[in-house]
């Protein structure tokens, strides 16, 4: 099952939920660290340490994915590149939602779409197995990631991801990748 997210409504709180923060722009490592501290600070009032740690972990995987893999890049004077994207943390009565949006190219879209569908169908044990197997594979030359982030996200949230790809106007080579995950404040 693929869940359809709506680009215009996904970032806005509904049913009494509130925005903890919303960010749109260049996601540098320093910014991720600062936002991560905000996540920890906000959550520590409402959740157990275990839930705080899990939501923090999911937040880091999502933002570092954007930093490394967003097709929309900001280039620094020293040649270093940072991904551009959106990240929003919403709080509702019983859970937190992390929603992200970033640009992906055609090939990336196919790979991501296939990967998300596959991971969403897997049981806890299958996800664990896939994580252990994938971690042993050699990392592609030049890649900064381990290709484990999405698996980790589903394992930590204990629920399928909602995701969608939105075509861009006047740009048939790129799409927006929308991702939404939620974690209950009291889940085990």
């Amino acid at each position: 099952m693929e869940n359809k997210l709506h680009l215009n409504s996904v970032f806005y709180p509904v049913n009494g939920s509130e925005v903890v923060f919303a960010f749109n722009g260049v996601l540098s490592q320093d910014l991720i660290v600062s936002l991560g501290e905000t996540v920890r600070g906000e959550l520590s009032y409402h959740c157990s340490q275990q839930i705080v740690n899990r939501i923090f972990a999911v937040f880091i995987e999502i933002t570092q994915n954007i930093l490394h893999y967003s097709a929309e890049k900001f280039k620094n004077e020293d040649g270093s590149e940072f991904g551009v994207g959106n990240i929003v943390l919403l709080k509702s009565k019983n859970n937190y939602e992390i929603i992200s949006k970033n640009m992906v190219g055609k090939k990336q879209k196919e790979l991501l779409s296939e990967k998300c569908r596959l991971i969403n169908k897997m049981t806890k044990d299958e996800l664990k197995q896939l994580y252990v197997i994938r971690r042993r594979l050699k990392t592609e030359e030049g890649s900064k990631g381990a290709g484990l982030g999405l698996i980790d996200i589903v394992r930590k949230t204990n629920a399928p991801m909602e995701f969608d790809f939105i075509p861009l106007e006047n740009d048939e080579n790129n799409h927006y990748f929308l991702l939404k995950v939620s974690i209950g404040q009291n889940q085990n």
Binding site: Q29, V33, E37, Q49, Q50, N53, R54, F56, A57, I60, E61, Q64, L67, K128, Y131, V132, R135, R136, T139, K144, G145, A146, L148, G149, I151, D152
Partner: protein, 124 residues
Amino acid sequence: MKDLILEATKYTPKVEFLADSGVLKISGSSYPENSVEFYQTLIDWINEYIETQKKPMEFSFEITYFNTSTSKCFLILLEILENFHKDGGKVKVNWIYQEDDDDILESGEELFIELDLPHEYIAS
């Protein structure tokens, strides 16, 4: 051989590798922008230690959070220690976790699952 000492940052762990005693420890959080680059320094030090010192090693992880790309680097590092062990080297790994942090304990168990390497889980 020189010690390898790196102070912790908000997103990289403190590193204390002591050449004389063979006591190696990393502690704190680990989610660098480029984990491979950060851990390469540690891996190079360990490879040199194994090649030149040929002494026992005790490696302690006391990590409170690590991202997935760090987890891959941990495995690479542990595989080097595993090979040292298989070649007859004396090595022990301590996986130190906060007493109520089942997630970190479990992530340790997943790392050692397929490794032939003496290790111990220690609650702190």
